[in-house]
């Protein structure tokens, strides 16, 4: 056992986790709790800017992202703050603000001038991490296996990563052929099923602006997963979840398919395997019900 288990993480849930993705929030906290990772919510955090704000004005997008980093620095006096974001968009947004402030001194000056309006500043000491990174590298598959009192034997799980968790940074996993989530699913006793589009785009926010394009991208993914024999998909991204879940019936209607694949967060399946009651994991919040494939594990 390494001491990283008792490290205190500053949890940055992000906006989706209090609305469309409450199941991700619940399951992340409940699971981390059992596995001994201590998540403390960053006080008064704000929106990371997501992809949309970056399309308006860069310095504004970076400044609002940096406010969170500055708050983390202020909160954690020892200079070793680690922010943990469950949403891939938040993760990329926070990393971008951190990197730009390190790489471009002119940016740093401007962002800090903006932050100074609220008596904040950012010196660059915060480490930004994704929840998947914590589960894979700090908690580890071995510990999950040890805690898996309700193994998901025989469950064929497709691990869908999406884009921003592996790109543009490739620190957590390979940018095109990631494999870490599979190790976690194996530790849960499930059978990971490989499918070629596991790091392709689901459409992201284009589902809202140009739905016909989003439907096509999601169709490609769902069809590919179905062909590979996937019973259930897990993802580490709120936007991927809602696109593949809430729009699945429209994909079926438009492309005359009969896909019926529930989309869960990877933390929900881990939680189920380590014996957290399904109500505390938000299982049942999904539109395409997972009951059919998960029933036998509900106990």
């Amino acid at each position: 056992m390494t001491e990283t288990y008792t490290k205190e993480y500053l949890y940055y849930p992000g906006c989706s986790l209090s609305a469309t993705s409450q199941a991700y929030d619940k399951s992340t906290q409940a699971t981390a709790d059992v596995l001994g990772a201590k998540f403390t919510e960053l006080p008064d955090w704000n929106c990371c800017g997501a992809t949309a704000y970056m399309g308006i004005k860069e310095i504004m997008a970076l400044s609002i992202s940096a406010r969170n980093l500055a708050l983390a620095e202020k909160h954690c006096k020892n200079g070793h703050a680690e922010i943990v974001a469950p949403c891939s968009g938040c993760y990329v947004g926070l990393v971008k603000a951190h990197n730009y402030m390190k790489e471009f001194p002119e940016m740093r000056e401007k962002v800090n001038a903006a932050l100074a309006e609220s008596d904040l500043s950012y010196s660059g000491s915060v480490k930004v991490r994704h929840v998947l990174d914590i589960f894979v590298n700090d908690i580890g598959a071995a510990k999950i296996k040890q805690f898996a009192i309700n193994p998901l034997t025989g469950l064929k799980v497709g691990c869908y990563y999406g884009c921003q968790i592996v790109r543009p940074r490739n620190e957590i996993d390979d940018p095109e052929c990631p494999v870490t989530m599979e190790t976690l699913m194996k530790a849960c006793g499930a059978t990971p099923v490989d499918f070629s589009m596991k790091a392709n785009c689901c459409g992201g926010s284009i589902m809202g602006t140009e739905e016909w394009i989003g439907l096509r991208l999601s169709k490609n993914l769902l069809h590919c997963a179905e062909q590979a024999g996937v019973q259930i998909l897990v993802t580490p991204c709120p936007l991927c979840q809602i696109n593949l879940d809430a729009y699945q019936h429209r994909v079926n209607k438009k492309y005359k398919l009969n896909v019926n694949i529930p989309i869960l967060y990877f933390t929900q399946l881990i939680g189920l395997a380590i014996g957290v009651p399904k109500e505390r994991l938000g299982i049942g919040d999904e539109i395409v019900s997972s009951a059919r494939v998960l029933e036998k594990f509900f106990g």
């Binding site: 906006c15 989706s16 209090s18 609305a19 469309t20 993705s21 409450q22 008064d44 704000n46 929106c47 800017g49 997501a50 949309a52 704000y53 970056m54 399309g55 308006i56 004005k57 860069e58 310095i59 504004m60 400044s63 609002i64 406010r67 730009y100 790489e103 471009f104 940016m107 401007k110 962002v111 001038a113 903006a114 932050l115 100074a116 309006e117 609220s118 904040l120 884009c163 921003q164 790109r167 543009p168 490739n170 940018p175 392709n200 785009c201 992201g204 926010s205 284009i206 809202g208 602006t209 140009e210 394009i213 991208l217 809602i242 809430a246 729009y247 429209r250 919040d285 999904e286 539109i287």
Partner: protein, 180 residues
């Protein structure tokens, strides 16, 4: 003196490498939406270098970028393609080229909501976006919204930052800086 278009793009953080583009088309081949574009990323880059400013900034294609970063990690010349696409979106909004493209309206609705509360409120964002673009289109999406609402996934309660005033001061100050 007005910068020429290539210089403008070169001044964006990470944009300076656009001059290294060898027009190999890896970006376009990796792009999930390029098959729908009149000007794929490769073609847009060519037009940037030839100074076709209005044509590029008026293009609907820049709003088809989903920020999946596949081009970014694959570019053999290390060009930060996605970041340049963001910069094109910003220039296009700033100069009011993109009023007719829905992507720009989503970005603006998003900013309005975030500046107001400090966080995104998904329910309000959707309402604002559809009112701006296509109020009748919203009707089509009522069944999906209803399903989500029944699952408690579209709460109407909105959360405002404790220090919303400080947050807004940061936004205002950042907005005063020139550049895009």
């Amino acid at each position: 003196m007005k910068l020429d278009f290539l210089d403008e793009v070169k001044h964006i953080p990470g944009g300076e490498r656009i001059v290294d583009c060898i027009q190999c088309g890896t970006c376009s081949g990796s792009c999930p939406t390029s098959y729908l574009m009149e000007d794929s990323p490769r073609s847009l880059f060519y037009k940037i270098r030839t100074g076709l400013r209005n044509e590029v900034l008026n293009s609907p294609d820049i709003w088809l970028c989903t920020s999946c970063y596949m081009c970014y990690v694959r570019c053999p010349r290390g060009i930060k393609v996605t970041d340049i696409m963001y910069a094109l979106k910003r220039l296009s909004i700033k100069e009011r080229f993109s009023m007719q493209w829905r992507g720009s309206h989503l970005a603006k609705s998003f900013m309005t909501v975030v500046n107001r509360y400090g966080r995104n409120q998904e329910t309000e964002l959707l309402i604002r976006f559809f009112l701006r673009t296509n109020p009748f289109g919203a009707i089509r999406n009522i069944p999906i919204a209803l399903k989500l609402w029944l699952k408690g996934r579209l709460p109407l309660k909105r959360h405002k930052l404790r220090d919303i005033k400080g947050f807004r001061r940061i936004v205002e100050k950042a907005n005063q800086f020139g550049a895009i």
